[in-house]
């Protein structure tokens, strides 16, 4: 049962409530019909016939007590309800048209519903003399007591079964359509606050300082909003306290480092001094790495439209200026939306690793599709064996130990930081073996922001295809 209901439970609330309303209404309808049938029995055609006959009997009774224009007026009025009424001489009726043709059931029910039928009532067969009664119509003749009879059909087309089905079907269809329309409107109105909550939740996902939600709407929605605002405050407190802690740790660790750094300055040049300076440097790098890894997880992203080609080229220039060979190949103008400082840190880490393990870094930029660019950082170092690849991307995993890194070079957070930054941009980072040797770090980045917050592109007037051209 639950398994059957699961697809339904995944529909939108509007669809679910609409479905519930329709099913409930149809059920209520069905129950009403069943109760009616059980209580009163099926209203067969004879019920309608009897009602019709009873009405006509009243007309005949009135007509029999009048004559001339008065009778004509009564008949005229009756014909508005029952157009086929004829006055025929008894003589004519007797001339071979007097046989009973309707079933006993009809007669029984006629007498049940219309006890006032005059004794002289007779059922007559369709007569070709009469003005076009429908074939199969039974005619009833009621004597008016002056040698004439009032003749009329007793089973009208109105009670035909197909017509009944059409009427009932139409009414049910109308019912469902109107319920659906009302349900959609009502449920849409009811769930509007819910959709607002979702929209604000989406905004919080990017910006925790967004204004808190207003608690309005139904009791449930208000409860939800309160819970949500409380959660947001809690998350913000956690992040705030973490930022304070990071700042304090950073400050408290770097202050003694600064003291030592200054003390070392008074030492005479020599082996010890060099070693201490190197250790100080690596401790500073470690603090910086750990802090930036922790901070980058939650820091706000100041996105900007950036020429990625020039950004990468500039990083490579900075490296090669520092005698760390890094080269760049690719187009000259590739504009993407990103956080340039974070991306610079990520790419610097990758290039630094490539230089460290492979002697040099070859960086290239390709556009894979109008929506995606690929940055490839290649080296010719020993690479990373498959078993270590995933580990190498994990923070504090010592994955880099697999590459023979000395303990003095930090936590080995370079790859983990790069991966975290790339993923915050909605991209991916993969390690690929190169033939015959070496490692390729492949970074795929969306051209526009794509971190699941908003499917809408930022305010760029024309739809852009990756904005790539060699404008030379």
């Amino acid at each position: 049962m639950t398994r059957l209901l699961r697809p339904i439970s995944q529909l939108s609330i509007v669809a679910q409530l609409g479905l519930v309303l329709v099913v409930a209404q149809v059920l209520a309808h069905a129950i009403t019909v069943i109760v009616m049938l059980w209580r009163f029995g099926e209203p067969g055609p004879e019920t309608f016939v009897a009602l019709n006959v009873a009405k006509m009997a009243t007309v005949a009774e009135l007509a029999s007590t009048t004559s001339g224009p008065e009778r004509a007026a009564i008949l005229e009025a009756a014909r508005r309800v029952q157009p086929a009424i004829w006055i025929i001489g008894d003589q004519q009726l007797r001339a071979g048209h007097g046989a009973f043709l309707v079933s006993t059931a009809v007669i029984t029910s006629v007498s049940r519903f219309a006890p006032s039928i005059p004794a002289g009532a007779r059922f007559v067969e369709v007569s070709p003399d009469l003005a076009n009664p429908k074939p199969g119509d039974d005619l009833l003749a009621l004597s008016l007591g002056d040698g004439t009879s009032m003749v009329f059909p007793i089973n009208q087309a109105m009670f035909d079964v197909p017509f009944k089905v059409a009427v009932i079907g139409l009414s049910i269809a109308m019912l469902i359509v109107s319920i659906l329309a009302i349900a959609l409107w009502a449920v849409g109105t009811l769930t509007a606050p819910l959709r607002r909550v979702v929209a604000v939740a989406d905004r919080f996902a990017v910006d925790l300082d967004a204004t808190p939600m207003k608690a309005q709407g139904s009791a449930e929605i208000r409860t939800l909003v309160h819970a949500f605002n409380a959660m947001r405050d809690r998350i913000r407190d956690l992040i705030d306290s973490r930022s304070r802690m990071l700042a304090a740790v950073s400050h408290d660790l770097r202050t003694p480092l600064t003291r030592i750094r200054l003390r070392v300055e008074t030492m005479t040049d020599g082996e010890d001094r060099t070693r201490i300076l190197r250790d100080l440097k690596s401790m500073d790098v470690m603090i910086g790495q750990a802090l930036s890894y922790l901070r980058d997880q939650t820091s706000a992203m100041a996105r900007d439209r950036v020429n990625l080609a020039i950004l990468i080229e500039t990083i490579c220039t900075d490296f090669s200026d520092a005698d760390q060979p890094a080269s760049f190949t690719g187009p000259r103008n590739v504009v993407i939306t990103c956080e340039p400082d974070l991306l610079t840190r990520a790419l610097s880490n990758l290039i630094e690793n490539a230089v460290k393990f492979g002697g040099s870094a070859q960086v290239s930029l390709e556009t894979r599709s109008p929506a995606e660019v690929a940055i490839l950082v290649d080296d010719e170092g020993p690479g990373i064996v498959d078993a270590e690849k995933l580990l190498a991307l994990e923070p504090f995993s010592r994955g880099d130990k697999a590459r023979g890194e000395s303990p003095s070079s930090g936590f080995g957070l370079g790859l983990a930081i790069a991966r975290q930054i790339v993923e915050r941009h909605g991209g991916s980072l993969t390690l690929i073996d190169r033939a015959p040797k070496g490692l390729r770090v492949q970074v795929l980045l969306p051209v526009e922001r794509l971190d699941g917050q908003s499917p809408k592109a930022p305010t760029l007037a024309p739809p852009r295809t990756a904005a790539i051209d060699n404008f030379a």
Binding site: L262, E265, R305
Partner: protein
């Protein structure tokens, strides 16, 4: 040092303040120390100070707040010292009016180089040579000297290395004048004493690559016969 500069160190860690003071004294500067904002205010009242080394994290009023306050009343150059070392802090510090920013732990040599650069710039400023501008623009490009960002006419950020930025800034400050390589070297070295400065020609070719429509046929930075360059666009500052 022809004339001794007075440097005020605002730092709550006594040992760091003392050691730094010693190096600066050895380098020929006169040094005053202050442990917090109030001591700093007193020192500023009592003496003529040429530069302030300001720690970011201080007991009481913090460095950023002091920086903002000083900027509204003094023109004294400020170098911020911070143990946070985050890009954001650097930008905020510079936007609040600090002239430079140095992360702890720093090497005294680097500190001396920065002090020299900032003092030199201060001297330039007094001669009225430097455009004091929030935003520099040329031919639709925007150069922000505080955040050190360059933006193309269609608003795309174009990243420059430190040396490239400094050279472009020098060009903007002295546009439509022929500048020799020696002059350019002289103007840029004062501000960025990085050990990896490339020759002016290399930097010019890199900047051309980033801003010229056709780097082989440059419109902005043109080569002038007999050794020199000229920055041709009209430069406005706001």
């Amino acid at each position: 040092m022809k004339n001794q500069n007075t440097i005020l160190i605002v730092e709550d860690d006594a040992e760091i303040a003392r050691s730094t003071a010693r190096f600066l004294t050895d380098a020929g500067h006169r040094v005053i120390q202050a442990g917090d904002a109030r001591a700093m205010d007193r020192a500023l009242r009592d003496a003529k100070v040429d530069m302030i080394l300001l720690d970011l994290m201080l007991p009481g009023e913090d460095g950023l707040s002091i920086c903002r306050r000083l900027r509204s009343s003094h023109a004294i150059p400020i170098i911020m010292l911070t143990a946070l070392g985050e890009e954001m802090d650097r930008v905020v510090g510079l936007e609040l009016g600090a002239d430079d920013y140095l992360a702890k732990p720093f090497s005294p040599r680097e500190l001396l180089a920065r002090i020299r650069a900032v003092l030199r710039r201060g001297a330039d400023r007094q001669e009225g040579q430097v455009i004091e501008a929030k935003q520099i623009s040329f031919a639709g490009w925007q150069l922000d000297p505080v955040t050190r960002q360059l933006r193309s006419p269609d608003g795309v950020r174009v990243v420059l290395t430190g040396a490239e930025f400094d050279l472009l800034a020098v060009f903007c400050e002295r546009s439509r004048r022929v500048l020799t390589r020696d002059q350019l070297l002289d103007f840029t070295q004062g501000r960025n004493a990085g050990p990896f400065d490339r020759s002016i020609d290399t930097l010019v070719s890199r900047i051309r690559h980033k801003i010229e429509r056709d780097p082989r046929d440059p419109e902005f930075i043109v080569t002038v016969r007999l050794g020199g360059y000229m920055f041709t666009p009209e430069v406005t500052s706001s």
